[in-house]
């Protein structure tokens, strides 16, 4: 099953993840002013939220990664060596 989590500390409360999610996984915690995962089981792993999140605060696990044919693998491998 796909896992999805928001790093709460990093959420700025923009609610873009709520706007972009096709399966309505997220909800807004109005008191904290931060987004939260409400329906994790509905996540289809499209990663739209992860790409759009300004903080990079949303992480997925166990999703099917599609390798874009136009991605430069040589460069992509370099980022694995970032401290």
């Amino acid at each position: 099953m796909i896992g999805i989590a928001i790093h709460e500390e990093s959420c700025r409360g923009c609610s873009m993840c709520i706007d972009v999610c096709p399966t309505f996984v997220f909800g807004m915690d109005e008191t904290a002013g931060k987004a939260s995962v409400k329906e994790a089981a509905d996540c289809v792993g499209c990663l739209s939220c992860a790409y759009l999140c300004p903080s990079g605060a949303i992480t997925h696990t166990d999703y099917h990664a599609v390798m874009n044919f136009y991605r430069d693998l040589d460069f992509s491998q370099r980022v694995a060596r970032f401290l």
Binding site: H7, G13, S55
Partner: protein
């Protein structure tokens, strides 16, 4: 612990701030020095050659022949090489020199400088400039990268200590927004503001207020001091990993999309504004092929358009 780990450091085309970043460890540097021995360091040791070492820390880009020689000598002398700082990893601010020829740079700096009177281009005892500015990993193999301008000392400490203790350092893919404390709210702002206009609200995100801030497209290796202090992010630690690795992602399109969702400003308006200020907005990372090599990165065209409009008296 057994024998101390030997460390060489070297600076190439760089302001020197990354070495200050290392010194910024303050008393924590004692933890590192307890387990490490610094052999070659331009600000600490008086040594001309490159003694053998376990770890080599190189800051700065390759701008002249001396830089290239020093980088190659460091690679031969060190078992593991770390590119420290944005200049070493992406070319950094010296990399912005790639939008001008050597002749233009010499002319502006030495022949027609507006603030000093000089008429000679120095050539005696000065290492000749190379044609291009090159990030470190296009000249030598780099084992680890730590971008930042300079990287916040906590990242340097974490990285160095991990090496000393043989552990995996904590890394994060989060952007500068992750540690910013401003609240991102949707607003009715309908035009882009320059940073000198009005007084920004200290608690609301710059993008929400119409100011172009690169926090959301910049990797957090700084702990977000600028945005916390009321200054928009200029992207000094270089782009986030998704901007670097995904061909369809870019600084201007990502900022444009987010700003359009937060305000009433059109995405294309933001994109055009960033293109007009491309020398500033792409200053830190344009020399790396990861950004400069993108087929959609047309900085020379953007500059030509902007400067033509400016010359005709239009709004730049």
């Amino acid at each position: 612990m057994s024998a101390k780990i030997a460390i060489n450091t070297e600076w190439l085309s760089v302001c020197g701030g990354c070495h200050v970043g290392i010194v910024d460890l303050h008393e924590k540097i004692l933890d590192v020095l307890g387990a490490a021995e610094i052999r070659h360091c331009p600000v600490l040791t008086d040594i001309k050659g490159y003694p053998e070492a376990d770890v080599g820390i190189i800051t700065g880009a390759i701008r002249n022949e001396h830089d290239r020689h020093a980088a190659e000598a460091m690679r031969k002398a060190c078992k593991l090489v770390i590119g420290l700082g944005t200049c070493a990893v992406y070319g950094g601010l010296p990399g912005a020199g790639m939008v001008h020829t050597r002749e233009e740079i010499f002319d502006t700096v030495y022949l027609h400088n507006r603030t000093t009177k000089t008429d000679i281009i120095p050539s005696d005892g000065v290492s000749p400039l190379e044609k291009m500015v090159t990030p470190l990993d296009e000249v030598i193999d780099v084992d680890l990268y730590l971008p930042g301008c300079p990287p916040a000392s906590s990242f340097i400490f974490d990285g160095l200590l991990a090496l000393v203790e043989g552990k995996t350092p904590r890394t994060s893919d989060e952007s500068v927004c992750g540690r910013c404390r401003r609240k991102m709210t949707k607003t009715d702002v309908d035009r882009i503001k320059q940073t000198y206009e009005d007084l920004p609200d200290p608690d609301i995100c710059f993008l929400s207020q119409g100011y172009i801030c690169l926090g959301s497209v910049t990797l957090d290796r700084c702990l977000s001091p600028c945005t916390r202090m009321g200054v928009t992010c200029t992207g000094c630690a270089g782009p986030t990993l998704q901007v670097l690795t995904e061909p369809n992602r870019d600084i201007r399109t990502e900022v444009g999309e987010r700003m359009a969702r937060l305000t009433k400003i059109e995405k294309d308006t933001v994109i055009r504004a960033i293109e007009r200020g491309a020398k500033t907005h792409y200053a830190y990372a344009m020399a790396t092929k990861m950004i400069g090599g993108k087929p959609t990165f047309l900085i020379n065209q953007w500059i030509a358009e902007t400067e033509t409009v400016g010359a005709e008296g239009g709004a730049a």
